[in-house]
Subunit: 310 residues, 2 copies
């Protein structure tokens, strides 16, 4: 079949969502990485360039987009296929918005699209998630799966990539606040205690169950009662300047819930409408301005499509 | 309004369901306790008798049916109302099938029915769950809520009784196997470690999420993949003779999942149809016969109604 050059977009994601450490995530609209694929002039996959971020390694095997793309070719025994890949690195790194996953999904998805989709979505997910290992050392799909599939995604089991698409509540808005400080996922993981009290496990399980049920029931009230992380947030909040103050602002303005996005430093709120999200964003901006930390805010409904080809 | 004597039934329940320690439960048909209410001859609530089990204390405040019934009257400022209560204690105690909860729900539900339902279902649940405290020292609704409400029930939060009814999959069958040995809930709780590893917490959370999603999706395959308890079952299984062997039998016969019912010693399987449940029951009976432990098996679809008035 004819190969047509293509360009794809893979969205930024909020993983963990407070109550689903390593097992929940959702993507947003308007922020994410892109990959374009063209026919190459020589055998094999070539990383033709990385646009937008000079700090990303221009080496196919050290860059999650290139690595994931290569894994697709390897699975298909097509590593000699002449392909040129360009990564448009639109997202800042180390933000807690799934930057490495966004590149990985874009890379794997783009090559599969270029080859007219010989791999299933789950196989593409596998390739993208393998690339996450080079980014932070662990095979976890809580950013790659929502970036690829769209919507709220539950990863029942990471090793076997048992991924379940959950429903989205119409109108639900996400606000992401990204303070421009850097936290590396591996450092943010390292501070977590290896043990959880049984009491906290029970509380968090109830909240996770309530959160998932709220999506199926379209019950914003239940979603709000459930969005309370008693395990991870208390351990990581101190890594993020002003976390407790911003959380207070968000809850006072009417957010349904507020917690850390991924490994941080980004934070997210889920809100019933955009005006609540806007007013939290505005007040948070004032707060960070005082302490001279740059803050970027993103407001979006839950991205339902995931990765797309233009 | 006229008070009409009544009799009610509150079903036996499977709590925990493997992946939802303290937060999940479902009731069955055909087994449970009953309470009848008649107008009394003297002021106040009188426990007129306990039928079927001479070991149950014939004292209104030491018996979960009487205590829960009293809590209803107390909430309504009607403790002087002349009421005679008879408890039909059909269920054996210390079985892991929610025996104390069944009595408690029957007591609270019956008095509320007799008084023409002045209390909401949640208030009745509160009274019944307070009675659980006299049975095993903790305020937990994972037996009382399913016995009262019917269907799969999630208790998002025990202290505030935030209870969510989950859907049931049509045709799903429960098998309960009750080996006639006694384990007290408080002993079974005492052996549990106070800590859970973060890894196990993540695994169990994925399974809990998958289990809840499977009910909404009517996905038996997902239900089966999700019904794997990595936290409680490994700690309690040794309390139940032949647990691992019966579990092997159940899984080989095609059960979707198999674990401990409540605090044990009862075990439960969820099955796609009755013939699978029947064949597990038969093979388990043979196994226990060899070691001269009596075994009773109950097969039922998920009870959707919960407590009922005749």
């Amino acid at each position: 079949m004819k190969r047509i050059p293509c360009k794809v977009f893979a969205p930024a994601t909020v993983s963990n969502i407070g109550v689903g450490y390593d097992i929940l995530g959702f993507p947003i609209y308007g922020l994410g990485d892109e990959v374009s694929i063209n026919k190459g002039k020589t055998k094999g996959l070539v990383l033709k360039g990385v646009r937008g971020n000079p700090s990303i390694p221009n080496d196919i095997m050290k860059n999650t987009a290139g690595f994931a793309a290569y894994k697709v070719l390897e699975k298909l025994n097509l590593t000699e296929e002449p392909i040129e890949l360009v990564l448009f690195k639109n997202m800042p790194t180390g933000t807690g918005m799934g930057s490495s996953a966004s590149s990985a999904v874009a890379g794997a998805f783009a090559v599969n699209e270029y080859l007219n989709c010989p791999l299933s979505k789950k196989e593409v997910l596998d390739c993208a998630t393998q690339a996450e290992v080079i980014a932070d050392g662990s095979f976890h799909a809580d950013n790659t799966a929502p970036s690829l599939y769209g919507g709220f995604v539950l990863i029942r089991d990471n090793p076997s990539l048992d991924v379940i698409k959950l429903p989205t509540i119409l109108g639900l808005q996400a606000l992401i606040l990204y303070p421009h400080i850097q936290i590396l996922t591996k450092d943010s993981r390292a501070i977590l205690k290896e043990e959880v009290s049984l009491t906290d496990h029970v509380t968090q399980s109830g909240n996770l169950g309530g959160f998932i049920a709220s999506l199926y029931k379209s019950d914003l009230n239940l979603l709000g009662r459930s969005l309370q992380d008693v395990i991870i947030e208390p351990q990581r909040a101190h890594l993020i300047p002003h976390f407790e103050e911003v959380k207070s602002i968000a809850m006072n303005e009417g957010a349904l819930g507020f917690s850390i996005s991924g490994a941080g430093p980004s934070m997210f709120a889920l809100c019933a409408n955009t005006s609540i999200a806007e007013s939290i964003k505005e007040k948070a901006a004032k707060l960070y301005k005082k302490s001279k930390i740059e803050l970027t805010g993103y407001i979006s409904s839950i991205n339902r499509e995931g990765a797309i080809r233009y």
